[in-house]
């Protein structure tokens, strides 16, 4: 056990000394977490609301598709995205393969199913009379949507939490589409797959592991706190029943 303590001390002191690599990986990870989750939310929330309250054909098929895409392996997303980005392919002229932009995009794609699949579930769990009543009182589509989002905010926050956890911790797509390039688009998670860092007794490896745990706990803890404050845990249990 002695060796592990020694490494742990070295890793922690790297973090406190403000090691450049650790700082840059942490900063990249934070940026990816917020940018990708934001993209997924902006695209996914309207789709989720439409599935949740809309009455159009193919709604159930869409919901099924969203649920199924939750099981999509990140490496598959990475390969398909990369093949569309490399020069000579559809989006090849944008030159975004192996850049931070590519990482933003693939992580947003991975986060999207959480938003699209969980938002309708949260809306459908609302008391059945609520939206119908609003409609009867003359609320337009936009107003009903806003009401649904506001009332289902706790479930939607849960979706955001799951989405952000995926953007921080998933590594398969980042490594493939981003190329895992140090100083450019390497995140804390993908740094752990870097063969230069992945050597026995490397204090950087420990420092990255600690930072990843800390970041996940802080980000997800803050979001959970906001979620609970915004609606109270009691309401949630009642509507879920």
């Amino acid at each position: 056990m002695h060796a592990v303590w020694e490494q742990l001390r070295a890793g922690i002191s790297l973090i406190f000394d403000g090691n450049e690599l650790i700082l840059s990986l942490t900063w990249t990870t934070i940026r990816v977490a917020f940018v990708s989750t934001a993209i997924a939310l902006v695209i996914g929330l309207p789709i989720g609301v439409a599935i949740g309250i809309g009455r159009f054909r193919g709604r159930r098929a869409l919901q099924l598709l969203a649920n199924a895409s939750l099981a999509l392996p990140p490496v598959v997303v990475g390969v398909l995205a990369l093949l569309l980005m490399v020069p000579g392919s559809v989006f090849g002229s944008l030159r975004i393969e192996f850049t931070l932009t590519a990482v933003y995009i693939v992580q947003a794609i991975l986060a999207l199913p959480y938003i699209v699949a969980f938002t309708p579930a949260a809306i459908q769990a609302l008391p059945p009379g609520l939206l119908a009543q609003a409609r009867a009182l003359g609320a337009g589509r936009g107003q009903v949507s806003v009401l649904a989002v506001r009332e289902a905010r706790i479930g939607i926050m849960a979706a955001v939490i799951a989405a952000m956890a995926a953007t921080v911790a998933e590594v398969g797509a980042v490594v493939i589409a981003g190329g895992n390039i140090v100083g450019s688009d390497q995140t804390l998670a993908s740094g752990l797959l870097d063969s230069f860092l992945l050597t026995a007794g490397n204090p950087q490896l420990i420092a990255i592991t600690i930072m990843l745990v800390l970041l996940l706990v802080i980000l997800l803890g803050t979001l959970t706190f906001l979620q609970q404050r915004s609606g109270g845990i009691q309401l949630r249990f009642r509507t879920a029943a």
Partner: protein
């Protein structure tokens, strides 16, 4: 689009003609997924049953821990085990790093939370009177557990399928602990990283296709399990 079709046209024959390298990776992946899921079921289902039916101290804490570990990132499992098993760390003498065995162990650990938490959740969802009645009628612990498992079998099998999906497609722990060694301990997911790294896009695409098909088969199995009378029913009950 030209490029994508070109790679796709190169990828499909690799699958249909059974490229030997691809076939051996598929074989190893299936072996890993099946053994890891079997091990996770043998260890996890009894724990899940105990968490749901038992009345011992620390049960609630363990129940929460099982739920939390569902969200444990594979990359963290990989790096923490690497730190504990590599070089002169306490587990270093086991010489597990960069072996085949460590891949089986890593995927078992990742699959375990699914069998534990989903078994417990399925049993907790049973009608409250059912087990109480069985107890009253004199059922022993084992009989009670067998009854609960039989009644909650759909939820339990759903957990096993989720475990299988994880063991099939998760890459981080396998790549970190196994070292992603070509022709030795690569799974489909980790071989994808390897091929993309080398610019062999057709191979990577072929693997992606195989992985998607495997996951689709699993999801259909799950759908049929939950709604044995067919998909139509499933669509309806999704609302």
């Amino acid at each position: 689009m030209h490029f994508f079709w070109q790679e796709l046209r190169a990828a499909v024959p690799l699958i249909t003609h059974g490229d030997p390298q691809l076939v051996s990776v598929i074989g190893f992946t299936l072996q890993v997924a099946l053994i890891a899921t079997l091990a996770a079921s043998l260890i996890g289902i009894p724990i899940g049953v105990a968490l749901a039916l038992g009345r011992f101290r620390g049960r609630h804490t363990m129940r929460v821990a099982a739920n939390v570990s569902l969200g444990l990132p594979p990359v963290l499992v990989g790096s923490i085990l690497f730190i504990l098993l590599a070089g002169n760390a306490p587990g270093g003498s086991l010489h597990l790093i960069f072996t085949r065995r460590v891949v089986f162990i890593a995927q078992t650990i990742l699959a375990l939370p699914f069998t534990i938490a989903m078994t417990a959740a399925a049993l907790e969802g049973l009608p409250p009177g059912l087990l109480g009645q069985a107890r009253l009628l004199g059922a022993g612990r084992l009989q009670l557990a067998a009854l609960a498992l039989r009644e909650a079998r759909i939820g339990v099998v759903a957990g096993v399928i989720a475990a299988l999906g994880t063991a099939l497609s998760e890459v981080a722990a396998v790549a970190i602990l196994g070292g992603n060694l070509y022709g030795y301990n690569q799974t489909l997911a980790s071989a994808t990283l390897y091929y993309v790294n080398g610019g062999h896009y057709a191979q990577a695409l072929a693997i992606a296709i195989v992985l998607i098909v495997m996951i689709l088969v699993l999801m259909c199995a799950l759908g049929l399990l939950q709604h044995p009378r067919g998909l139509r029913l499933r669509f309806r009950s999704a609302t």
